[in-house]
């Protein structure tokens, strides 16, 4: 569970790192990813892995199209406009999903379902293993991408100063579309991995709210931070459910979020600077 938070948080962080926008529709992209995969597996009888790849591709393309058609227009406007815009988009996605796939609850069969491994007396089901492995691989790939490739560095440059990056010959618009595609793809991966554990319905996107806690805890703008934050939130929830009275499990993440914001707003791995006037 913590890894899923981490993955969704990763999506937030990617977009924030590259475009300084906060995407409140991330959770809804996750939901779309899960639904698209479900549709291919159940309705069209595509194999799980093919459906997985298709879901990632479709949602990533969708993310890029979204950037090109809608979000590019608000670049340069106050950040608040973007927050509202993505909230609106999220509502549209949910309405779209409920119209296309209905508001029932679905389950997604996977190759890992109902299999488990025993490691030294502890039984671990393969679904959870798939989530953890997927997260680790994805995180490593993305980290390498941002640190070592020209495109990744260009993205970071574009985030810090769009105009300067543009003068340096970086195609800023294409960078932004690309980062939206990557982020939407990550959301789709998270959605598909989450689908067997939690069930698919149109409110799957609300997991995005908890992922916020993870992203903030790790420090917005830090890729390893988002994963550590996600896992921490997952563990805190688990322990709150086990040791605290009923009801604390659901709010534990938010309490932690508030505490972090009040005490150390930059999170565990974040950096802050002062604005020059």
């Amino acid at each position: 569970m913590g890894c899923i938070y981490g993955l969704v948080a990763l999506g937030f962080v990617l977009i924030y790192k590259a475009t300084e926008l906060v995407n409140f529709a991330q959770g809804d992209l996750l939901m779309l990813g899960a639904f698209v995969c479900y549709m291919f597996v159940i309705w069209y009888g595509v194999g799980y892995w093919a459906a997985f790849a298709l879901a990632i591709a479709i949602v990533a393309l969708f993310g890029a199209a979204l950037d090109a058609s809608v979000l590019r227009r608000v670049i340069g406007q106050p950040q608040f406009a973007v927050v509202m815009l993505t909230i609106g988009l999220g509502a549209i996605f949910r309405a779209f999903a409920s119209m296309t796939w209905g508001s029932e609850i679905y389950t997604l069969p996977t190759p890992f379902s109902a299999k488990a491994t025993r490691v030294g007396g502890v039984t671990i089901s393969h679904e959870y293993v798939s989530i953890i492995v997927g997260t680790v691989i994805l995180c490593a790939v993305l980290y390498a991408f941002f640190t070592y490739t020209r495109v990744g560095v260009a993205m970071q440059a574009a985030s810090q100063n769009q105009l300067a990056a543009y003068y340096m010959g970086i195609p800023v618009k294409r960078m932004f579309s690309l980062i939206w595609a990557i982020s939407a793809g990550v959301a789709a991966i998270a959605g598909v991995l989450l689908a067997p554990v939690s069930l698919i319905d149109i409110n799957l996107g609300f997991i995005g709210l908890k992922a916020f806690a993870a992203a903030v805890l790790g420090g917005f703008g830090s890729i390893p931070g988002s994963l550590v934050g996600g896992i921490t939130i997952g563990l805190i929830e688990l322990f709150a459910g086990a040791y605290l009275p009923h009801g604390f499990k659901d709010v534990a993440a938010y309490v932690v979020l508030l505490a972090v914001l009040a005490i150390r707003p930059q999170g565990m791995f974040g950096t802050v600077g002062r604005k020059k006037v």
């Binding site: 227009r73 949910r94 810090q160 020059k276």
Partner: protein
Amino acid sequence: MRFVFKTSYAQDLGLFRDGVQRNWYLALLVGVAVLPVLVPAYVGDVSLVFIYGLCGLSLMVLAGYTGLVSLGHAAFLGIGSYAHVYVTQDLGLPWLAGVIAATVIAAAAGVIVGVPALRMTGVYLTIATLAFALIIQEVFARWDAVTGGLKGKAVSKPVIFGVSFAGDNAFYFLCLVVLAAGLWLTANLLRSPTGRAWVAIRDSEIAAQSMGVNLAVYKTMAFAYSAGLMGIAGALFAHKIGFLAQDIFSVLLSIQFLLMVVVGGLGSLHGAIFGAVFVAMLPVMISQARDALPAMLSQPFTLFGKAAGDTVFLALDRFVKQPGLEPGIFGLILVLFILFEPLGIYGRWLKLRVYFSLFPLYKAATFRRQKAYMRSERLR
């Protein structure tokens, strides 16, 4: 174009620009006062508009004037509602005591959120208020003794100093009076040094700070005032809906409030009211369109035979009866406003007015917004 030539300081201090403007507002007040006679069927909906107007006012002070965007205002509304109902019904105190308690408790909650919020800027604050709202919603669900928990709580009709406001019309005027008082108070506050300081904080925190505005004090004040107004609105809201349940005060309601100030036009009191009219009346219009649209749109298809018309009717009917449609429409409107009219309905009205008062000389560039390509919130 009218130009007011000022000959005394009293003109500068007046609430209205000139006599004409004052008369227009008086005419509006008269119009609103006779509205229940004109459209008796919509009295309930219009009183909801007034309550939403108060909510819009509250969020406008915070988001539109101080620049602190909150996604948790439904929580303050809920605190006001539950406080009012608890004080008047469980403790048996008079109505006014309930409203005062609602205001004070909500304002105190505002301070509790506001103080840690001093360290946050921009989107962090939005996230923090969102988290606060989610926690408060859980509190509403669990605190059985006060809130009735998941079962909810029935609300009786308001009785003020022995006078019952149970009727729709009486409640309508109660809401109207409270809204007018709230508007008057807020308009005056915004003209005072406090309001100027808020606007200065919105435009640039650093500049405001260097001019001697104490950020901590004024931000907390903005939070407290906004939450207090929300508390009053909550007291009325409780009577309006008649039954309190914790899932009413959800994030979706907060989003609706934010939609209200954005659609109305950020940074104007008119905008808060326009937005309230829009958000409160939209569900009414949607439900009417739901009944009327399929028949209307399928009419042309009957030319191709009755079967074609029926098919289109059924398809449309099924489409508009989808349960998820309404939030989707809200989202769509939000997106369209942000993209095409960031100044909201009030901004559109302002443009129209300027267009006609400058008639042949209007330039679109008058309202062009400056874009900033290096808006790093990290460095603030």
